[in-house]
């Protein structure tokens, strides 16, 4: 194993990590807003990937071009998920945590079932795309272009999210509702509207990630499951409710995963992430940047 291989691994790991961060931030946003862990988050990713496939197949759009469209579609889907399902889950007076978990879990299973029914369990992929399979050589390191694009989109998305939260009225409404959902009605903020938009935003973000990942990952009904766990660990590692935590957590997860893959057989590469998570929460029970 040469220094070059290590650097190569770490570089791809970092890129993947930024993508993980993008997947995770939607989850962090929703949780920070309303204390709900979306157990269907992986399935949102799956839906986004299929949507991208759809755009590529029927509209002959390259995934990168389709990405904003997918994000837009996922935005609507996320808002609908809130209005149609989650809103009712939050009305529970007892066991609110469990109700949310299982209501969204039920949604996840239904989505998976629908995917199997309507799209078959076959593994699919996007046959040709602008960046698919290409690598960029930078100082002797070969960076896969789809992942690179994904990382750039992720950074852009985080920057955009930062601006949205800190410099727009909607962002302020989001923060206010997050702090005291009961009180915001007093200042004319419709809590339900903010929640629906929050879910939409969270889904849109994972939609962007899904569009990019469709370039280089197989698309099938259960694809969400494996990434979902990484997303949860990322959010928990960074600290629930912290957008920056999702960003940092993603990079850490990506790097740890890449490092683990260097020393352990590929099927065990997640062990590193799990160990790091347990170590971090042992020292900081609320994650790295969590306040909730």
């Amino acid at each position: 194993m040469t220094a070059e291989t290590i650097i190569q691994s770490l570089a791809s790991g970092l890129l993947m990590g930024l993508l993980y961060g993008l997947i995770a931030v939607g989850l962090a946003l929703i949780f920070g807003l309303m204390d709900v862990v979306n157990f269907a988050h992986g399935e949102f990713l799956m839906a986004a990937m299929y949507a991208t496939l759809g755009f590529a197949t029927f509209a002959l759009l390259d995934p990168l071009i389709a990405a904003p469209l997918v994000a837009f579609a996922m935005f609507g889907f996320g808002a609908l998920a809130y209005l149609g399902v989650v809103r009712f889950a939050m009305r529970a007076r007892t066991n609110v945590g469990m109700v949310q978990i299982f209501a969204t879990f039920g949604l996840a299973i239904v989505m998976r079932g629908l995917a199997q029914l309507l799209l078959t369990p076959d593994y699919r992929s996007i046959p040709s795309s602008w960046l698919g399979g290409k690598t960029l050589a930078v100082a002797g390191i070969f960076l896969p272009e789809p992942q690179l694009a994904g990382a750039l989109i992720s950074v852009a998305a985080f920057a955009g999210l930062y601006l949205l939260i800190h410099h727009t009225d909607f962002g302020r409404a989001l923060e206010a509702t997050r702090e005291d959902a009961g009180a915001v009605a007093l200042v004319g903020i419709d809590k339900n509207r903010v929640f629906a938009l929050g879910w939409g935003l969270g889904a849109a973000l994972v939609g962007l990630a899904g569009a990019v990942m469709a370039i280089f990952f197989y698309i099938y009904p259960d694809v969400g499951a494996s990434f979902a766990l990484i997303a949860y660990v990322t959010v928990a590692l960074g600290g629930f409710g912290s957008v920056f935590g999702a960003f940092a957590g993603g990079m850490i997860v990506g790097l740890v995963e890449a490092t683990t893959a260097l020393v352990l057989p590929p099927s065990l590469k997640s062990l590193g992430i799990y160990a790091v998570y347990l170590l971090v929460v042992f020292i900081r029970p609320r994650g790295l940047f969590g306040s909730l």
């Binding site: 469990m98 978990i101 299982f102 879990f105 996840a108 629908l114 660990v233 929460v281």
Partner: protein, 328 residues
């Protein structure tokens, strides 16, 4: 509600349980279809598993989504002891239970300081790690799993080829035992401490409850019986692999009946299992073939429906009348 009526409601629960157990024991007399019997065995097993999960998750409020760890440990301990060392599965069952309880206690140290979602994710991660390790552990069969050699029907070796009836009665017995354990704990100081810890750990501490010890006790009891269920399962299906006994899906499946039936209640897990398992199995056989996914849709809709319409669980349907009586 005064002391006398409370004691009588306890006796009533015991009586109802006894009657249900007897009724269940008589089922094989009328039900001869092997397929249906199979579903009944699984239902009873899940009732027992979910009842065990409920002790930690429902009563003590520590939602574990990694209980497949203990189930798998029970299954693997029994099977490995049997196939490698010829140890009788009954001993393996107890050993599996003891090992699981010990590991639950050991894991309690780092994890019980975590709250809510952080704890749940820690349980998932730990179980997944064990799953991955077993998947790569050649001595324990790795991904191919282990076959339990079944030679002849034997109670000693706890294996039956011709009729699955003994398994049915064992599963019934396990379901009864876990119910009884829950019933006993409900009226013990542990039961009170667990519920206090669930509702408000800070207040519990101010009343002299050592929160950490309470959680540990609940975890150990819960892990023990879950492992026994795993040991049973290994003998029942004669084949285990990480996918079937240690996966995340399985962890959720153990928690689900309790949540649907009524988390933290005495009857919830059994009620939830009685509805969920037959429904899942039936939809899977009638509709699920061919990877159509319809069984998943039905399953998912059912979970959402109950979670949204009856968050306190189906037990709530039976309890409403009682609540009005006592709130005088």
């Amino acid at each position: 509600m005064d002391a006398a009526s409370f004691a009588s409601s306890r006796r009533r629960a015991l009586l109802i349980a006894a009657l249900l157990a007897v009724a269940a024991a008589c089922l094989p007399l009328v039900v001869k279809d092997v397929y249906v019997l199979n579903i009944l065995v699984l239902t009873l097993m899940y009732a027992a598993l979910s009842q065990s999960w409920n002790i930690l998750g429902g009563y003590c409020g520590q939602i574990s989504l990694g209980h497949a760890l203990y189930f798998g440990l029970g299954a693997y301990t029994t099977t490995l002891l049997f196939t490698k060392l010829g140890v009788v599965p009954w001993f393996g069952m107890v050993a599996g239970g003891a090992i699981s309880a010990t590991i639950a206690l050991a894991l309690g140290y780092p994890t019980f300081r975590l709250r809510g979602h952080y704890f749940a994710i820690a349980t998932i991660v730990i179980a997944e790690s064990a799953y991955l390790l077993f998947l790569n552990w050649d001595w324990a069969g790795a991904a191919l799993g282990i076959n339990v050699p079944v030679r002849a029907d034997s109670w000693l070796l706890f294996q039956f080829r011709r009729s699955k009836l003994p398994f049915f009665y064992f599963a019934l017995g396990l379901a009864c035992v876990t119910w009884l354990v829950t019933w006993a704990f409900e009226n013990s100081k542990w039961g009170y401490w667990w519920r206090a810890v669930k509702d408000n750990p800070e207040a519990a501490e101010s009343l002299g409850v050592v929160v950490f010890h309470s959680k540990m006790a609940a975890a150990a009891v819960s892990a023990f019986f879950t492992a026994v269920g795993g040991a049973f399962y290994a003998q029942f299906v004669s084949y285990i692999d990480p996918e079937s006994v240690m996966s995340f899906q399985f962890s959720l499946l153990m928690a689900l009946p309790a949540v649907l039936g009524g988390i933290g209640t005495l009857w919830g897990p059994a009620l939830g299992a009685a509805i969920l398992i037959p429904l899942t199995e039936l939809t899977r056989s009638y509709v699920g073939g061919g990877g159509k996914g319809i069984d998943l849709i039905v399953y998912g809709v059912l979970i959402m429906a109950i979670a949204l319409a009856r968050p306190e669980g189906l037990v709530g349907l039976f309890e409403r009348r009682k609540r009005i009586e006592t709130a005088r």
